[in-house]
Amino acid sequence: LVNAEKEGVHEVVSQDGTVRIIGFSPAKSPPTGLYISTGLSKDEAFAAINRQTYVGAISIGLGICLALVAAWLAGGLIRPPLDRIASVISDWRSGGGRARTGLDSEKGDVEAVGAALDDLLDELARRAEATVYAERQRDLLMHELAHRMKNTLAIVQSIVSQTMKHSSDMDSAAERISSALSSAQDILTETSWSAADVVHVVESALHPHVDGSERVKALGPHAEISAQQALGLSLALHELATNAIKYGALSVPDGRIDIEWLVGSDRTFRFEWRESGGPAVVPGDRKGFGSRLTERIVPSYFGGQAGVHFDPTGLRYLLEGVLEHANNSAVSPATKLTNVG
């Protein structure tokens, strides 16, 4: 220590046992070899610092405690809405579709989340309902389609078996069957399954037979007709047209056909087919399936009667009955003159 060449500090234990920190500095001017030192008790020197450290540590501890208490108090305010949201979500997941938080978005951020969740669940419930409704509609439609297919096939099967049993030759049987099949197909592919228009039925039934002919005139009002009645009427028209071409008014150049129908306000239906200018017709020319069809089966579709009359001017077919499906106001006031062909 005495020989130190530079100043410094050193911790020493004095003879009295006190720990001291001494500072020393060698003399810079003669007499050299001397040094100046001063000492301070370590306990006294550090007492103030230790006190400060102690106070600081307690302050930090208190701060932590206060923060914990504050967090616990604030948490107490936040937890109930969060619990509600969590329980609504778990209820909803386990099938309780009606569970809602019932929180008011005005009351705070967490409550706003709850209210938004309620809105979302409402929207999901609406969509689920719409899906169920759409599925039910689709099932209903599938069922209706299958039902109609089955019915149509049963009708076609009966038409085929009736035609085969009662037709005189294979050609006319084949013709009738193909006409019945195309009528049945029209019924299936018609945009509206439930109803057609009489005008449309008459036009499309006669079209293949009298295409481009001015000799066939059809006159009657637009009126709604059920698909079944449309089938009956078009089969009758096919039968009448085929016979007119073979034996009746359309077998000679000057013959003509006037078709006229009336629909009453009570939906009574009167349909007349009048041939003129053809060869003289003889009762008994047409027996078998043709008359069975036009005089028994077709009027049955209309809940009425029908008959073939052999007037001096030519064959006349009169069908009287009632039109089904009065769900639309049906008969248009204007009478349409239709030029078939």
Partner: protein
Amino acid sequence: MPRTTPIVVLVVEDEPFVRMDAVDIVEEAGFIAAEATNADEAMRILETNPDIRIVFTDIDMPGSMDGIKLAFAVCDRWPPSS
């Protein structure tokens, strides 16, 4: 005592072609066929025609009764019919 008159079958069907075909089948089998287009008409015919022994009916038909209701009504009121 054995019946000497042919058995009468009532065919109930709203579709004319199908009904006509069913009537043919019944007649070809040796029965006499009666026709009705719906269950209500069938009941009227049954009330006035005690000879009917068999009712052959469609199920899906317009009117106040379908074929199943008609079958129950027939069983209740005319036990020998089947």
